[in-house]
């Protein structure tokens, strides 16, 4: 596997990786925040605006047909990427946050009433906490939180015990952004379905690293962001099962989501357009299609295998450094190394690494309850992508040596 993965050639696909920062070559280890974009995505955007740009689903003219074809082509590509049963189950949204809010505000507002419950885990990103809190507050419902253990793994027994008569929805991350834990979503979905509870999976941190098959998972909703998966910002996907999407009221009202409008009555459009009011981010959708195509060309299994090996190397490397403690040591992990340096605040670590050209994230990673669980204010997080190298991990280790030099 190692032999066939030519990381140096892959790095040539990403122009930004050749930038310098503070006079040093960029070492980009903040991929869980956003990933960098390959040429093919950047060129697809240029090409779209140079040769295809028009509004979709309305023009009779040639350009509109080209734009519509490109947009719907991207939808079909994403359908295949996720192995969804129908392209109408693929809704374009701005990102994971909007995908979750869409479900909370449409499905959630119908399904959750007073004393009803929504179950999440203690690992969630704020975007899979706050929309449910808002919903529960409005409906006098209750948010229930599955605890995690010291390794950062979900307590499955506690999870099953929380599923009850009043549970209306389960909303869980596929991969934790703060700790890298891969959640046993398949088992969690099965357990919820035994009680006829639908499950939403936040796949923002999973799609860049793992093959996702929504039919095999049998999840009811799955959502992810384009920009974390080598695509443009401002575009994401919400997958939903047809039967659920059909029952749900629209999220936003406006153009494109209607069949007919009069002041007396509006007839909503069919799926997926019912949920895509207004002119969509056509270029973003086309760019996302190109990004997923790029990943498929490299091979999703090969990406996962390479990253897995790199994570193992990085874990061993960082664990051997004095004063460095990894936070999140789940058996099943993807691409994330969250750590604390004894006696040094994460922001000081981040600044010192930045001066070495190394980009990491320092802070609570939009997962403040996770920080509280581990009784820390913040961590430094290095997050990997398919273009990172062992040499970059060595530079990170050397940078952490500098941190010690300054603070000891």
């Amino acid at each position: 596997m190692k032999m066939s993965w030519d990381v140096e050639r892959i790095r040539k696909d990403f122009p930004i990786l050749h930038e310098e920062v503070h006079g040093k070559p960029l070492v980009y280890l903040d991929n869980a925040a956003t990933s960098q974009k390959p040429h093919v995505v950047i060129e697809t955007l240029v090409d779209y605006y140079s040769k295809q740009n028009s509004n979709v689903h309305r023009g009779l003219h040639q350009l509109s047909e080209r734009a519509t074809e490109a947009y719907e082509g991207a939808r079909t590509r994403i359908q295949r990427f996720l192995n969804a049963a129908h392209s109408r189950e693929i809704l374009f949204v701005r990102g994971t946050t909007e995908g979750i809010n869409l479900v909370a505000q449409t499905y959630g507002r119908r399904a959750v009433g007073a004393r009803d419950e929504v179950v999440i885990t203690a690992l969630e990103h704020h975007s899979n906490i706050v929309p449910w809190q808002m919903l529960c507050e409005e409906k006098q419902g209750r948010l229930r939180v599955v605890p995690i253990n010291d390794a950062g793994e979900v307590d499955l027994e506690a999870y099953e015990a929380l599923l009850g008569e009043r549970t209306r929805l389960v909303a869980i991350a596929h991969v934790s952004n703060a700790l890298g834990t891969i959640l046993p979503v398949q088992r969690m979905i099965e357990a919820a379905h035994r009680r006829d509870i639908p499950v939403l999976v936040d796949g923002a941190q999973a799609v860049p690293h793992l093959r996702v098959d929504v039919q095999a998972l049998d999840c009811d909703f799955y959502t992810f962001s384009g920009h974390k998966t080598y695509g443009p910002t401002g575009i994401g996907v919400l997958y939903g099962k047809t039967a659920l999407l059909e029952q749900m009221p629209p999220f936003h009202g406006g153009g494109d989501m209607i069949k007919s409008v009069s002041f007396e009555k509006t007839v909503y459009n069919d799926l997926p357009y019912k949920f895509e009011a207004g002119t969509p981010h056509v270029a973003g959708a086309v760019g996302l299609g190109a990004a997923l195509g790029y990943m498929e060309e490299l091979g999703l299994e090969r990406i996962a295998a390479y990253e897995h090996e790199l994570l193992a190397y990085a874990t061993a490397r960082l664990s051997s450094l004095p004063g460095v403690r990894l936070i999140g040591t789940a058996r099943e992990k993807a691409a994330v190394l969250s750590f604390v340096v004894e006696g040094v605040h994460a922001h000081d670590v981040g600044t010192i690494l930045d001066l070495e050209g190394i980009a990491v994230r320092a802070g609570h990673h939009c997962a403040m309850p996770v920080m509280t669980r581990f009784d820390i204010a913040a961590t430094t997080r290095a997050s990997l992508a398919l273009y990172n190298t062992r040499e970059e991990i060595d530079l990170l280790a050397r940078g952490l040596g500098k941190v010690r030099e300054v603070f000891h």
């Binding site: 503070h22 922001h347 204010a377 603070f407």
Partner: protein, 150 residues
């Protein structure tokens, strides 16, 4: 390494390790809390005022080296100052970091606090240094709402 030493001067590292006045006061007359939601730095500043003079001052909380050293050096600098002197020092300190003052004179009058001038080159860290100052400003003004940097 030169930029690094510019930011993390020895005196800053020293105050980070051994913060001065890192304690709760027995009878504070003013108290305020500061919070930086971006990084989670928290600081509580307590002051015992007597005839408009800061007789005692202490802080507690958690944060990065810059915010902790800034709080520590702030308490050392302001003890014994009158409220209006403290406000002037705050203005000078802020001006040094945010660049609204050309240079030189203000920073010179800041004495030891001038070690924070290097923070100016690190825009993402300026709020770390100013958080304790915004907090004491609120405490002296008798504000009870927690101060945030955002």
């Amino acid at each position: 390494m030169s930029d690094l030493r510019e930011l993390y001067q020895q005196v800053i590292l020293d105050h980070n390790w051994k913060p001065r006045n890192f304690r709760k006061l027995t009878s504070p007359t003013q108290r305020a809390e500061g919070y930086n939601p971006l990084c989670g730095d928290r600081v509580t500043v307590e002051v015992a005022l007597e005839d408009e003079v800061i007789r005692d001052i202490g802080f507690q909380g958690s944060g990065c080296a810059i915010s902790k050293a800034s709080a520590s050096m702030m308490t050392a600098a302001l003890k014994g100052q009158t409220v209006s002197e403290a406000e002037k020092t705050f203005e000078r300190f802020r001006a040094m970091l945010t660049g609204s003052e050309s240079n030189g004179e203000g920073a010179a009058r800041l004495d030891k606090l001038a070690v924070f001038a290097g923070v100016r080159e690190f825009p993402s860290r300026i709020k770390c240094a100013t958080l304790p100052w915004h907090t004491i400003h609120a405490a002296l003004a008798g504000k009870t709402e927690p101060v945030t940097t955002e």
